[in-house]
């Protein structure tokens, strides 16, 4: 079933259709939320809220872009909102890296990696809009530039420009050097 048909079925009250939509998209939505937030529990909450918001807003889905991209934008906003709310609290969670597969590093490397990941998340979260949204959609939600353009309603050239400036700001914040 393609996206418009799926959405129409959900709007018509087909709960199974919504279940299929959730099953299909939960992975990508959760991934975006986790990459922004860095904590499994927070990402779970943000994912849940993303789908609640999407459920309410489905009638506004125009069908000109993919449903995944539409959801990714909602998830991005929701995750960033959650991230901005919790900045004052420090977490004692140690589960952030526990559920990432394929990791067999020594503790020191793992700590360094975790610190670096935290620095990247913080730097992205502190970017001003509209750069932040474009960077997250591009690298965390893994959308193409065309998909970002449709999802945000901005011209492709504008999206490129925003991404370029966002990366330039990130370079300053992260101290990343040009690729050798």
């Amino acid at each position: 079933m393609d996206d418009p048909a799926l959405v129409e079925a959900v709007i018509a009250g087909d709960q199974d259709a919504f279940g299929r939509l959730v099953e299909r998209e939960t992975g990508s939505v959760f991934r975006v939320c986790y990459r922004v937030l860095g904590r499994v529990h927070d990402a779970q909450d943000a994912t849940q809220e993303t789908f609640v918001i999407a459920y309410r807003a489905l009638p506004t889905y125009r069908g000109d872009g993919s449903l995944a991209a539409w959801l990714a934008r909602i998830a991005t906003r929701q995750a960033l909102r959650t991230a901005s709310r919790r900045t004052e609290t420090a977490s004692l969670d140690v589960d952030a890296s526990a559920e990432t597969p394929g990791r067999a590093m020594d503790p020191v490397s793992e700590l360094v990696e975790a610190e670096r990941a935290g620095a990247i998340r913080a730097a992205v979260a502190q970017l001003p809009e509209p750069y932040r949204e474009v960077v997250v959609l591009r690298f965390f939600a893994e959308l193409s530039l065309g998909e970002i353009s449709i999802a945000t309603g901005r011209p492709l050239g504008t999206v490129k420009s925003h991404l370029h400036r966002g990366l330039a700001r990130l370079r300053d914040r992260l101290g990343v050097e040009a690729a050798a």
Binding site: Q15, F18, G19, V22, E23, T26, G27, F30, R31, Y34, R35, G38, V40, H41, Q44, D45, A46, T47, Q48, E49, F51, V52, Y55, E99, T100, P101, R103, E113, R116, A117, I120, R121, V124, V135, R138, F139, F140, E142, L145, K160, L163, H164, L167, A168, L170, R171, L174, V176, E177, A178, A179
Partner: protein, 244 residues
Amino acid sequence: MSGTGRPVSGRDVGGDLDVALVGVSAELERYADSATPHVPDGLVERILDAVASEPMYSPVGRLLAAMAPAGWPGLPPALAGLFRAVVGRPRPIRTAMRIEAAALLVVLACVVTGAGGLAVLAVRGMAAGPGPVTASPPGLVQATPPLASQPVVMPAPTNMPDASPMPAPTPARPSAAVPTVTARPSVERNGKPAPVQPPPVAPSPRPSASAPPAASPDGSGEPVDGGSDPIPSAEMSAGSSPSR
């Protein structure tokens, strides 16, 4: 998707990426590839439950949430704003209990404190439906008629016995329905020879005195909002006032 540690990939700016930014792009990709956990078990079911049981609140939360569109009529604006902030939109299940506990505490605090009466009346009014909300103020409105009616009758006759040349004025005035005339005459006439003149002058200082019986919901004689709308309760039930 990627994850091979390559310096540049399809996720960069379509080939237009400034060389100086390639490092940042690669760094972000590395991070994204490493931060790719499995979807936790039960998450899909939890999402479906959350959507199905929207608005995800207990009876207390549902009642407060149901009142949200009406702006919690009868509640002081600040309190209504607090309620809206607490239950105005769905929350993750994990934090719902905390939020509801907070909402319940607010309700209890509201009931215990002096302003609690209005909150209770508003809750009752909402539970009964949108119409009866106007029933909450009546207890207060009842106090207004006696207060408003008193000045109309009295002082004028008592202070006027000396004005014998004019026996008719008193019966003639009631039609003007100017209660406040009575307060000033005693002061002004002491030095004035012409007792008949004051009446037309006096009404202006307190023109509002004729309106209060219907307009003042709190019995003070002054409209609460400072406006002249005689139907405050109707506005409150519409929920437009707590817009701030």
